[in-house]
């Protein structure tokens, strides 16, 4: 073949992949259930300057394996670099960068809000709309449990905040891939 024939690759056609995706990413990690694994992951994030938005750790169906679900901002962090660095940890078994439209993700949150007599009905109404549960009551407060997508919980927070948000606890997202219809 002659040099410069079309079969060769033109340099100007080559493109490098872009580092920043600009969206939120949910990473689902399967890790060995061993002491110190979380410290290794947390250490990696702090050393490389990656900022975790949420983190949830829990068991899986296999007692030797734990699942860590992380969310990160792909507008700030090169997700590709994050996953490659995570892969280098010997105790990390599997990493999935969850595709938004093929993923079910949920977060749970507990809100304690001011609920004096005049506002109480409205808050309970919000709770109903959000399919939230009232899990504790006192004379001036309500404690509400909400489960749903991260956006839903943000929205609920916006609704109740004007009433006086006393305390909030969020778990961070956990996620699992949707099954295909034929599965």
């Amino acid at each position: 073949m002659e040099a410069g024939t079309p079969e060769l690759v033109k340099l100007e056609d080559l493109e490098a992949s872009r580092a920043l995706t600009g969206r939120k990413h949910v990473l689902s990690l399967l890790v060995e259930n061993k002491p110190g694994v979380l410290a290794r992951i947390a250490g990696l994030f702090s050393r490389r300057g990656f900022n975790i938005d949420t983190l949830a750790v829990g068991p899986t169906d296999d007692p030797d394996v734990s699942r860590i679900t992380l969310t990160l901002d792909g507008a700030v962090h090169p997700i590709d670099q994050v996953t490659k660095q995570l892969h280098k940890l010997v105790n990390v078994l599997k990493i999935r960068d969850m595709e938004p439209d093929q993923t079910i993700s949920r977060e749970m949150a507990l809100f304690r809000v001011q609920a004096a007599v005049d506002g109480r009905a409205e808050i309970m109404h919000f709770a109903e709309i959000f399919r939230a549960k009232i899990v504790d009551v006192s004379r001036r407060t309500l404690t509400i449990e909400v489960t749903g997508s991260n956006d839903k919980i943000d929205a609920f927070e916006r609704m109740v905040r004007p009433h006086g948000l006393i305390e909030m606890a969020r778990t961070g997202e956990v996620a699992i891939a949707r099954s295909r219809p034929d599965q």
């Binding site: 690759v9 660095q85 010997v90």
Partner: protein, 559 residues
């Protein structure tokens, strides 16, 4: 069997012949086992020294280097060496004693959480919690340290567990590490793509580094580069992987590289980076680095690809495997070599205009560059050279024309002063038939001078050529060039008397301050029986050029 004995059996099974270390309370059981072990233990005089010796051993031989330390201060003294091994990807296993399990977490005597301290600076680590894990973890540590991108692995062994009795069975097959699968073979489609791009490149440069040495891919690199007339440059970590006296060699690139190599990078249309990690000493200002080039990046560590510089053709794999395939694919394309003629004309013009050079003294004064040239001649270019960190390191990289891999052993990533002497000891233990010379800086050498004793007592005949400029020369240079000549704490005075110090440790000590006598003095040092030091008094304020100021672009080279 006592777990500590099983530890030694496991080391034996890994083929270990030499280890370096210092005993203490928490690793007494291990040292009791070492008493009967079949490998040789070399007692260092500081754990940092033991660690660098293990690195020197590994870098000279390609085998895993091993160092022992006790808990607490012994373990923390290893930290610099572990970090050094991490940044330079050196296959090493560090075995520390830990306090008894019932004392862990109680601030027990000499307790330090060394697995915690070293978390960011190891490839992996193991804290033993059951004595039966000891041999298993040793095998896993060797496997992890030496495969994929090599690096340091720490095994922390609590004292009581190393005394426990266990059933020891020699390990068979690979350790069970489900999360560890280092890549090996490069993707052939990507390799083909790279070959086709290369065949179309008008101004290609091969930029290779320490990964070639790790992969033992020097022969493949030469074969590839000479399958056409491809210009080659190397990082300081790769020196020797492509023979310096070669027609296609551009010299080292980067901050103290040749103008030719840096200008070639700046003007290249295609850069093949192989086993090199785009360190900031290479790229300078990232936004102006090789602005005309597309990048093929070959690395065994996927995380290196596109970390600093986005790759157009990423290839994850072992350099040796990829280079062999790339050569085959490229040859099959029968690219027209003549397309590179203009490029070579340009390269030759740079070489003619900007050769490496210095103004020699007109009297007896020894210029540092002259010292390296003399060293090259006195050793006939054949010695293994280890180096400390500073100007002398860069002059050696420029003026000692390394012709084979593992001939040049230095601390590049961490830039650890004091690396040279213990690394030379390790290298000499690994390669007893080679001449091993430590090119030392006077600032660096004093940081580890206790290791003179290690060489003397164990009869390890290393040679030290000390480039004595009375300064922290590299820092002095930066203060002169970038801090208005405000010299802050860079003068060293004339302490110690190096000849006396060497003699005090049982070495031969000599001094030379006259360039006409230098080569003879070097030969005498090389011929002296046992370890010997030559204190070479060089110019005090010479600067190392050329240089790309930190954060500048290749075009802004000075000197």
């Amino acid at each position: 069997m006592r777990a500590a004995d099983a530890l030694c059996e496991a080391l034996k099974a890994e083929g270990v012949e030499h280890v370096f270390g210092i005993p203490g309370g928490a690793n007494l059981p291990t040292y009791d086992a070492i008493y009967d072990a079949e490998f040789t233990h070399i007692q260092a005089r500081h754990e940092q020294g033991a660690g660098h010796a293990a690195e020197g051993y590994a870098k000279a031989s390609g085998r895993v280097g091993v160092a022992f330390a006790t808990s607490g201060p012994g373990a923390t003294n290893l930290v610099t060496a572990i970090t050094d091994a991490m940044l330079d990807s050196v296959p090493t296993v560090f075995i520390t004693g830990q306090v008894r399990t019932d004392l862990i977490g109680t601030d027990g005597f000499q307790e330090a959480d060394v697995t915690g301290i070293t978390l960011p600076i190891v490839k992996h680590s193991f804290l033993v919690t059951d004595p039966r894990q000891i041999p298993e973890y040793i095998h896993a540590a060797f496997h992890i340290a030496s495969t994929g991108r090599p690096g340091p692995v720490l095994v922390d062994v609590p004292q009581d567990l190393s005394r426990a009795d266990i059933e020891y069975e020699p390990a068979e097959g690979r350790p069970n590490l489900p999360g560890y699968k280092p890549p090996t073979e490069g993707n052939i489609k990507q390799i083909r793509l790279a070959a086709k791009a290369l065949a179309n490149a008008q101004r290609p440069v091969v930029y290779a580094g320490g990964g070639i040495v790790n992969a033992d891919a020097s022969a493949e690199l030469i074969e590839f580069a000479t399958s056409d007339k491809l210009p080659v440059t190397l990082t300081v970590m790769g020196l020797g992987a492509f023979p310096a006296p070669h027609d296609q060699w551009l010299g080292m690139l980067g901050m103290h590289g040749t103008r030719t190599a840096n200008y070639a990078m700046d003007n290249a249309d295609l850069i093949l980076a192989i086993g090199a990690r785009f360190d900031d000493r290479i790229t300078g200002k990232l936004s102006e680095f090789a602005p005309r080039a597309k990048f093929v990046h070959v690395d065994i560590d996927p995380a290196e690809i596109s970390k600093n510089v986005p790759a157009h053709i990423p290839i994850v794999g072992d350099a040796r495997d990829v280079l062999a395939k790339l050569t085959r694919e490229y040859r099959a394309l029968k690219a027209d070599s003549a397309r590179l003629d203009d490029w070579w004309k340009q390269i030759r013009a740079w070489q003619a205009e900007y050769p490496l050079g210095y103004e020699d003294s007109s009297d007896s004064e020894i210029k540092p560059q002259f010292m390296i040239e003399a060293m090259y001649e006195a050793t006939e270019g054949e010695a293994i050279i280890t180096s400390d960190v500073g100007q002398h390191q860069m002059w050696a990289a420029q003026y000692y024309h390394f012709s084979r891999p593992r001939q040049w052993i230095n601390s590049g990533g961490l830039g650890t002063m004091g690396f040279g002497l213990p690394a030379a000891i390790g290298a000499k233990v690994a390669r007893p038939d080679d001449t091993v010379v430590c090119l030392a800086g006077d600032g660096s050498l004093v940081m580890v001078c206790q290791e003179f004793a290690t060489a003397a007592v164990h009869d390890i005949p290393v040679k030290v050529f000390l480039m004595n400029n009375g300064h922290f020369g590299m820092v002095r240079q930066w203060q002169e060039l970038f801090w208005d000549g405000r010299y802050s704490s860079v003068e060293m005075g004339d302490s110690p008397d190096w000849v006396k110090l060497a003699e005090a440790f049982g070495w031969t000590g000599m001094r030379c301050a006259d360039k006409r006598q230098l080569k003879d003095a070097m030969r005498a040092t090389l011929d002296a029986e046992g370890p010997a030091l030559l204190d070479v008094q060089v110019s005090k304020t010479e600067n190392c050029f050329p240089m790309i100021p930190a954060g500048a672009a290749a075009r802004d080279m000075v000197g």
